[in-house]
Assembly symmetry: C2
Homo-oligomer: 443 residues x 2
């Protein structure tokens, strides 16, 4: 029946998927906060005119409609455009530099690509009102810190707009042709150098320019070698000194800290589609599955956010797509699986003993243990089967015999063992069985 | 400029508001999990036909539109209707009884009442596939547990549908008139007994019925007294025995645990508007501000969720409106205020020392401390002022002198004191200053 269908491009989350998502959000949020970022939020609905026409014709990808008051409203398609409104509105309530993060859903109305959804969750972190290289480095380090916290070997590849501008300058391209060039370079990961050059030839770029771009794309090696290669090729361009100084400073400051799982690589092929980046741009790939593509990316955008007086506010940030990152983690076998958060299942021998079960549950919950009580008097084998299917590690068995003996049976479903404990030792025994003895809650 | 306006009825959250909301969600989520509830999620958009026409004409309160594929879609207006689709779709992936919770936004298109919003966050917890009184008691106890965790003195008032049915039966009302009666009784808190009776008279209820309702509304006292009063008045009605047995069992089982901040009261005036409740119904008010009205409510609904074969799945649950609960907590001065999660601010004496600042920050973050680095070389007084405005408790001051002496200055912004520590004692000294010595992260 169609009423019972999930809309195409949307997802439901059963508890197992939800626990995985919650865990990921919690780990990343922990990293954001360790770097001094604070949470903020904006509504999912905005005035349509705020969202449309920012980056060309984007109406096809936005859900828009007229509300009951005749206003044109839209579901946000990212967390950055609403940020422009937010910063403008609360400029006097914010102490700059402002480190903010936002966890929220966004929507795209057009048909989603493989592994993507019409409704998706993003976690953005931005430093606003700070034009320094140190801020760039903080964002890159935060990215690395998140990958380390998630336990995934990653490569963060970065470049900067000024280097790409130098290439455009050396090729003497006008702004329209330079956009085509950037778009082609951006496909490097997918189609390789030959693919990019063939595409440029197809568009009608001259052989001289194609040669230059070929030389540019060939620059690889250690960060020092890439910097040298870039200098050889682009050293004459006007924008180049700023670019090379920026990449050098970033590289030097990144070297201060070591990351066991993360490498930083200067990569001239990183171009990023969005034209709002003005400095640093970066992407992140998993070492074990680079084909998956970038799992999180970001950069500096000094010409998007404005004070009410029109003055630009420099900003640098990153964005993590939670669904995509989780899919990538699954692809390398690094997505932790959580079946349940419930630790104890209290079986039901007799509905007349309900008050005893409530008492047992209350004591455990007081000690911080997550408890489900089974409410139906039914065969114990059936109840154990249910506890098992729910992946609950410990079952409490108390029938009339246990009551009269002041005892409790604990069945450890993982080890398959059953132990008898005295009623007055019940809570400590459960905590011990769950390995919570040294847990703060057990004190 | 209108593009920069927030839509009317919607909210932005600056970090301070967001930290308060996150804290509330986290405390309630912790309670839900302690009671064995697991998270699930559904999309914000659903097919319009799923949402409309469930409880009369509700199209005015729903945001609906046509998507780019010509489908009629709507933003959900609660978390319960999508649950009907969810249960039906994943019936074979769920182990019943299913304790699930959901934290999510919902939207209402009509003009919101005072203190309410068009976009609002709810936290629902439900036990599905469990018709037992124990499940009713678990939900009530969970409600109490959440209020205790939030530290607010509350009264949970409950009633059941069968008692109200008995009143309808004794008054010999048809189903249409009984709906008017329930609607009037539901206003008891706002307009009092005289108000309800006057309203009934206005509608045209007979004096005999108005007398009976008057007697019904007069029943107060201890839970035992209320049960006696109800028996005297309604004991002859067909539905009564089920109702009184249910209220008695619930009262007995609730007595097993004591709650220092929460009282449970049987209250015949609780009627609840929604007609999907089939048994227990309850509301929660703060003792210190009962006028605020119910902050969270719920009940049993055994005729809403269905298996694919059409068989009903019994369910009982509660719903907490986060914005409303937070507003209520503020009204009694019990909403904790969080200014920031950032613990340390590293001042910037000289941009050339950036790598040292990154090193200091890295060490602290490794130890779990939340750190912001100030990136601009500027007057220290100005930097201290910024740290102060950001409510960051500790400032790290390292200039060329400290570097040459292998020292670090720590300025405690709360106490206004400054201490000098050796560079190699830096992390333990910060942890001590922050009171984190016994913190697991400090081990």
């Amino acid at each position: 029946m169609s009423t019972h269908n999930l809309l195409s491009g949307f997802q439901d989350f059963l508890p197992e998927s939800m626990l995985a998502r919650n865990n990921l959000v919690s780990v990343v949020r922990g990293c954001y906060e360790k770097f001094g970022f604070l949470p903020q939020d904006t509504p999912c609905l905005e005035r349509t005119e705020l969202l449309t026409g920012k980056y060309g014709d984007n109406e096809k990808m936005i859900y828009s409609f007229e509300d009951h008051g005749g206003r044109r409203v839209s579901l946000r398609y990212d967390l950055t455009v609403p940020l422009t409104r937010f910063i403008n509105m609360y400029i006097n309530n914010i102490v700059f530099p402002y480190r903010r993060y936002q966890v929220g859903l966004s929507w795209r109305a057009d048909k989603p690509g493989k592994g993507r959804f019409r409704e998706f969750m993003q976690m953005d972190a931005d430093i606003i009102g700070d034009e320094s290289v140190l801020a760039d480095v903080e964002v890159l380090t935060l990215m690395a810190s998140a990958m380390e916290a998630l336990g995934v070997r990653s490569t963060i590849r970065f470049n900067c707009r000024q280097i790409l501008d130098s290439l455009v300058e050396m090729c003497q391209l006008d702004s329209e042709t330079s956009v085509s060039l950037m778009r082609s370079i951006d496909k490097f990961d997918k189609i390789g150098q030959a693919g990019v050059l063939a595409e440029l030839a197809g568009i009608g770029f001259s052989p001289g320019i194609i040669d230059k771009v070929g030389d540019y794309l060939k620059i690889t090696g250690t960060n020092a070698e890439v910097l040298q290669g870039l200098t050889r090729l682009l050293g004459e361009a006007g924008a180049f000194q700023t670019g090379i100084a920026l990449l050098s400073s970033i590289t030097d400051l990144l070297a201060v800290q070591s990351h066991s799982l993360v490498d930083f690589e200067i990569d001239p092929t990183i171009a990023r589609g969005l034209d709002y980046y003005t400095g640093l741009i970066f992407e992140t790939r998993f070492v074990e599955n680079p084909e998956f593509g970038s799992v999180c990316s970001g950069g500096r955008y000094d010409r998007l956010l404005k004070r009410p007086n029109g003055e630009f506010l420099p900003a640098v940030g990153l964005s993590i797509g939670i669904d995509r990152l989780l899919a990538a983690m699954k692809s390398v076998g690094k997505a932790p699986v959580f079946k349940t958060t419930t630790q104890v299942f209290i079986a039901n021998f007799d509905e007349k003993l309900s008050s005893e079960y409530l008492k047992l549950a209350g004591e455990l919950r007081q000690a911080g243990v997550a408890v489900e009580i089974f409410s139906k008097q039914s065969k114990i084998a059936k109840q154990l089967d249910i506890a098992n299917k729910k992946y609950i590690p410990l079952v409490v068995l108390v029938g009339p015999d246990e009551i009269s003996l002041s005892q409790v049976l604990l069945k450890d479903m993982r080890a398959g063992v059953q132990i008898t404990v005295q009623r007055d030792q019940f809570v400590p025994a459960v905590l011990e069985r769950l390995g919570l003895n040294n847990h703060p809650l057990a004190v």
